[in-house]
């Protein structure tokens, strides 16, 4: 396999492939080391990290739905200090970029969190302004352009790392949000986070999820994600990381044709723990068969 053909630079980070493990579905990468060589993948995007430890939501947190799943984990994580002390050193043995996903309750806290992550071993930050499962922070920032821009500015001011802002699909016009964070200095945009959804047990008449509503992910959301990536890539100059329902190399190629400069695999990692590696291999093969010199040549080349 001629790997140089799919090596990319995204938001200033060199990656061996354009395929990453998406936040919340890829742990800290090392959990997958029995299934794939994590030194050969594009990047690891960590589980969302918050200023303090969080236990997450009570009750049932995951439910299968047609071609996908709902979750309401609620940002369970050990907090930034434990992350730096216990997890980051384990990842330093690997030479795959680690993008740390961050979440906080106020714009100021986002900034403080970002400054704590100006350390070796962190390649970039992905700013989560789109978690649908927590009361404060999260989606409050993801649905209001001024608030999203404010968070982006605080993180940019505090961080020495490239800043990727992850947008929520639960908005009327995604391009308004994208332009707001671009103007505030974001180096890149990732989208989409989960779509808000729910499911009901018809025997108990109770919601399937403890939190009643949750975030929908998996192949069910792919057409929505693809549409939003297409709209966003046309609206901004900064690179777009396409996420949402990717389950095959064909899906990944679709996202790149629609304008994504790189992609991340989410819920499908749960189904095929080798997906991130296999999808990259499939994209390389696609370039070979189509006579495409470099995978970046197809970015945004949809004939629309």
């Amino acid at each position: 396999m001629k790997q140089e053909r799919i090596a990319v630079e995204f938001a200033g980070i060199s990656m061996k492939t354009p395929v990453m493990g998406a936040s919340g579905t890829f742990g800290f990468g090392i959990e997958y080391s029995d299934f794939l060589d994590i030194d050969t993948i594009g990047a690891i995007i960590s589980k969302g990290i918050t200023p303090l430890p969080r236990a997450g939501n009570d009750g049932v947190r995951v439910a299968e739905t047609p071609s996908g799943m709902l979750n309401c984990i609620g940002l369970e994580n050990p907090g930034v200090d434990a992350f730096k002390r216990d997890i980051l050193p384990q990842l330093s043995r690997h030479d795959t970029p680690l993008i740390v996903n961050i979440s906080a309750g106020t714009a100021e806290e986002y900034g403080e969190l970002a400054s704590k992550l100006n350390v070796d071993g962190v390649a970039a930050l992905e700013v989560n302004i789109s978690c649908p499962n927590v009361k404060e922070g999260g989606i409050v920032f993801g649905t209001r352009p001024e608030a999203a821009a404010d968070v982006t500015r605080h993180v940019k001011d505090a961080s020495h790392k490239p800043v990727i802002v992850k947008l929520s699909p639960n908005v009327t016009d995604i391009t308004v949000m994208a332009k707001a964070v671009e103007a505030a200095g974001a180096d890149a945009i990732s989208l989409i986070n989960t779509l808000t959804g729910m499911a009901v047990d018809i025997h108990t008449w109770k919601p399937l999820l403890g939190n009643i509503t949750g975030g929908l992910s998996g192949p069910a959301v792919k057409p929505v994600a693809l549409r939003m990536v297409w709209q966003t890539a046309r609206a901004v100059q900064i690179p777009v990381l396409g996420v949402g329902g990717i389950a095959s190399w064909q899906d990944a190629v679709e996202f790149m044709l629609a304008g994504a400069s790189a992609v991340a695999v989410g819920a499908y990692n749960f189904v095929n723990p080798k997906a991130v590696a296999e999808i990259a291999a499939g994209m390389d093969q696609y370039c070979e068969e189509k006579g495409i010199g470099h995978i970046s040549d197809i970015i945004g080349k949809i004939n629309d």
Binding site: F26, F35, V60, P66, M69
Partner: protein
């Protein structure tokens, strides 16, 4: 017990697939890497490729035959995924991820009581095979749900049975058989897998007798490898955050109840 064990993803050919009773099936598939690594208490995450379900389904390992390279599971047909599985034939390929779980059953020597109810008895069969003459308590709603005894007969020193309706063995719940079992046997520790109420009542009784107890937990999970955090809980004594799938599924009862 904790192990750093390797996990595998195998396309496994089904070699035996039979209904034990109409709603409970036994499947044996050829997955030599998983068979070679499996320990009692661990589980596999399986999927029928091209089926209607999105996520894999977790099942406790009933047996792992290293020589034959086969793994056995026993499952109850309860929903779309297990209904689809029940329609699979010998020779079909099923995708299997495992063995999963670093918290496994204790296999150290001693006189051990294995107590299980319903499909929770499945992983205890694997444990029974590795222990020396365990005492086994099979609990079921009614006699037709106690077919599990046949799987324990060749390993168990003594078999006890309870049914809710008294149609076989002692009438009542599993925990009600404990005083007799503990009087008739010198039990060093108890391993339990079954409905939560059964595990809790047995764990409470074990604690009152000062007997060590471990339980195999079940919680809704998406990944099975410790990344989705769907199945976490807080340890009762340690306050530590545990993942049922990767830190368990077997835990000391005092951390759960």
């Amino acid at each position: 017990m904790r192990h750093t064990l390797k996990q595998f993803l195998e396309d496994a050919k089904i070699v035996i697939h039979e209904a034990i009773i109409p709603t409970v099936w036994r499947m044996v598939f050829y997955a030599p890497q998983i068979a070679g690594a499996a320990r009692p208490g661990q589980f596999v995450n399986v999927q029928k490729t091209g089926g209607q379900t999105f996520l894999r389904r977790p099942f406790g390992i009933v047996d792992a035959d290293t020589a034959a390279g086969t793994v056995t599971i026993i499952y109850r047909v309860v929903g779309v995924g297990t209904r689809e599985m029940a329609g699979m034939q010998c020779g079909d390929i099923i995708s299997v991820e495992g063995p999963l779980g670093k918290g496994t059953f204790t296999t150290a020597p001693g006189r051990v009581l294995l107590a299980g109810g319903g499909v929770g008895l499945a992983p205890l069969i694997f444990l029974a095979k590795q222990l020396k003459d365990p005492i086994v308590l099979v609990a079921g709603k009614t006699a037709s749900e106690t077919f599990w005894t046949t799987f324990f007969e060749s390993y168990a020193h003594t078999l006890y049975v309870t049914t809710d309706d008294g149609s076989r063995g002692q009438k009542g719940f599993a925990v009600q058989a404990l005083p007799v079992i503990l009087r008739e046997n010198q039990i060093d520790r108890i391993s339990v897998c079954g409905p939560t109420v059964m595990m809790r009542t047995i764990a409470d009784t074990a604690a009152s007798y000062g007997i060590a107890c471990e339980v195999s937990m079940e919680k809704r999970m998406a990944c099975g490898i410790g990344v989705c955090l769907g199945c976490t809980f807080e340890g009762k004594r340690s306050g530590k955050r545990y993942k049922v799938c990767s830190d368990g599924p077997v835990f000391p009862a005092r951390e759960v109840f």
